[in-house]
């Protein structure tokens, strides 16, 4: 494969049609040089996107002047909203006030901090479980949504009982623009509105190292389970997916996490609130070469919850050998239309947060930072100071400085909170 062929660049950027993609993919498998080229092009592409994002943020301050230009009748109606959205100060004051109310609404509707769900309904059949989608519905037509700018506040995903819903579908597509919004806001001296904080986007803004898929596997699924740092009685499950560079794109892919009802009482997918208001199904999508995804579940182990709810399943939970969960990735490749599965069955080896890999620590810091900014009811005992510590422990080599920048951001947020 000639690496000076523009088709190779087009391939790396996902710009070739299916037939050509398969041909190029086969050629790439043969050539290490081509593989390297594709990987580099993708890295460069990512770096460019990030830098354009940063640049955008620096420009954004001049925006309100610009919006004020639109002084015609059309804007006399929409204008105030637009200007409010653009002027960070106004927007944040309004959104924080509204956000607090909305959060209460959600809490009131579901009535379910983690322990309540676990302890009140361990036997499952009494009443329907907390359905994540339902919990978020009431906010969809909220009259406040315009104040949230491009985001519509939908509340948070609650803990879900494993007995009734052992499987959780993990959305594969994540937009990380939210991190830039959060960063911009804090850098201009205002804490972001809750609605602007998208935790999954923040987590996936950063890149994490996952091993290359082995052999002919198109993906590696990496699961780590450690003590949840903001709620030490819980387990924090990190799911990391990495696509192989040389495998053709797959379609209709989805990932499902199945929790073992004998080991886990309930679980909560961290972040992903916005998805609930969108009409489209983002659980199904394409995974391209070089794809990575990081997601967290907070799991309430059964042994722990049993002490609060003195019912059922006492014996089986004692088997430490039993897996905590299985992660299943379903996919098709272009070349082979049959649905294939990659499954990873994972035991909880009881690792503490201290023993966690650096990347995990850093990502957990980002997640907790997001929860604190949202004033999430699930933020647990974490503080910004701890977020700082975890981020520093997880900073690693940080060649491009993004993690250092994050640490600075947390410090600024700390100062803002104090002020």
């Amino acid at each position: 494969m000639n690496i000076d062929d523009p088709k190779l660049t087009a391939y790396a950027l996902n710009e070739v049609d299916a037939a050509e993609r398969a041909t190029i993919a086969r050629a790439i498998v043969e050539s290490r040089e081509a593989q390297h080229f594709v990987a580099e092009t993708q890295k460069l592409s990512r770096a460019l996107r990030l830098q354009y994002g940063f640049e955008l943020e620096n420009e954004v301050l001049g925006r309100e002047k610009f919006i004020a230009i639109y002084n015609d009748p059309f804007w006399s109606k929409a204008g105030p909203l637009a200007i409010a959205a653009a002027l960070a100060v106004l927007a944040v004051v309004a959104a924080v006030a509204l956000g607090t109310n909305k959060l209460r609404t959600v809490a009131g509707l579901t009535g379910s901090p983690a322990d309540d769900v676990v302890s009140a309904k361990p036997a499952a059949n009494q009443s329907p479980p907390v359905e994540v989608e339902e919990a978020a519905q009431p906010n969809q037509n909220s009259s406040h949504e315009a104040d949230a700018g491009p985001y519509a506040y939908t509340g948070e995903r609650p803990f879900v009982s494993v007995l009734s819903r052992p499987r959780s579908s993990l959305p594969l597509l994540v937009s990380s623009v939210s991190y830039l919004d959060v960063r911009r806001s804090i850098n201009t001296g205002v804490l972001p509105s809750k609605d602007a904080v998208r935790i999954e986007g923040m987590i996936n803004y950063f890149s994490y190292e996952y091993p290359q898929p082995s052999g002919h596997q198109p993906f590696s699924i990496n699961v780590d389970i450690v003590t949840c740092p903001w709620e030490p009685a819980h387990r924090l499950v990190r799911i990391g997916i990495r696509g192989s560079q040389a495998t053709a794109v797959t379609e209709d892919s989805r990932i499902e996490i199945q929790f073992n009802p004998r080991r886990v009482a309930s679980y909560r997918l961290i972040g992903y609130d916005r998805q609930l208001s969108g009409g489209q199904n983002v659980n199904e999508g394409k995974i391209g070469a070089g794809y990575t995804l990081t997601a967290f579940y907070e799991a309430v182990p059964l042994r722990q919850s049993r002490t609060t709810a003195n019912t059922v399943t006492q014996t089986v939970a004692e088997q430490p050998e039993e897996a905590l969960l299985s992660a299943n990735l379903q996919f098709r490749t272009r070349a082979n239309q049959a649905m294939r599965f990659v499954e990873s069955v994972v035991r909880d080896n009881g690792f503490t947060f201290n023993e966690a890999p650096q990347d995990l620590k850093f990502a957990a810091a980002v997640a907790e930072f997001g929860m604190i900014l949202r004033d999430s009811e699930y933020k647990g005992n974490g503080t910004l100071q701890q977020v700082l510590e975890w981020a520093q422990e997880g900073k690693g080599a940080d060649v491009n400085g993004y993690r250092t920048d994050f640490i600075e951001l947390v410090r600024k947020a700390q100062a803002l909170k104090r002020g």
């Binding site: 000076d4 523009p6 710009e15 460069l44 592409s45 770096a47 640049e55 610009f66 109606k77 315009a146």
Partner: protein, 185 residues
Amino acid sequence: MRSEKTSKGQEFEEILRRFEIPLLQYARGITGDREQARDVVQETFLKFQRNGALRRKDEPATWLFTVCRNAALNVCRKERRILYVGEELLEARDSEQPMPFDQLEDKEATGFLLRIVATLPPRQQEVIQLKFQNDLSYKQIAQILQTTANNVGVLLHTALKTLRQRYGEVAGDFIPFKPSTTDGK
């Protein structure tokens, strides 16, 4: 229930939020002037509104960048009292615009890559911005630049190659990826 009018207002607001600054940067890249870029983008949005473009379900990006580009080129044409013929104007800027490469000594991460982008020929810069800032497809970019998707592919390929080389030369071990293509060296 939201009225149709309000919902359109919100839709427009969202489009404005999303494209305003990318368009400003794009226009500034062509005119080389911030104030003129503002005028150009304002004109673009007013046209967008007037043409009822909001009713269109399709992606507004191609429309906006095309109109913005034409307006910016118009400004250049007026300013310089020259006749715009095909690529000439843009190519003419080739010699004035690019920053000498040896000025890039500052290795701070933010903006570093983009300053290298600024050393590329204007047309390549346009393609890079449309692709990586605005996530447009080859086909959309081709429409905006009034060329073929193949040509866009070649422009982008060449631009990225140069970018990688120059980044490697200037940044050395700083960069988060290692350059492998050092043709001509």
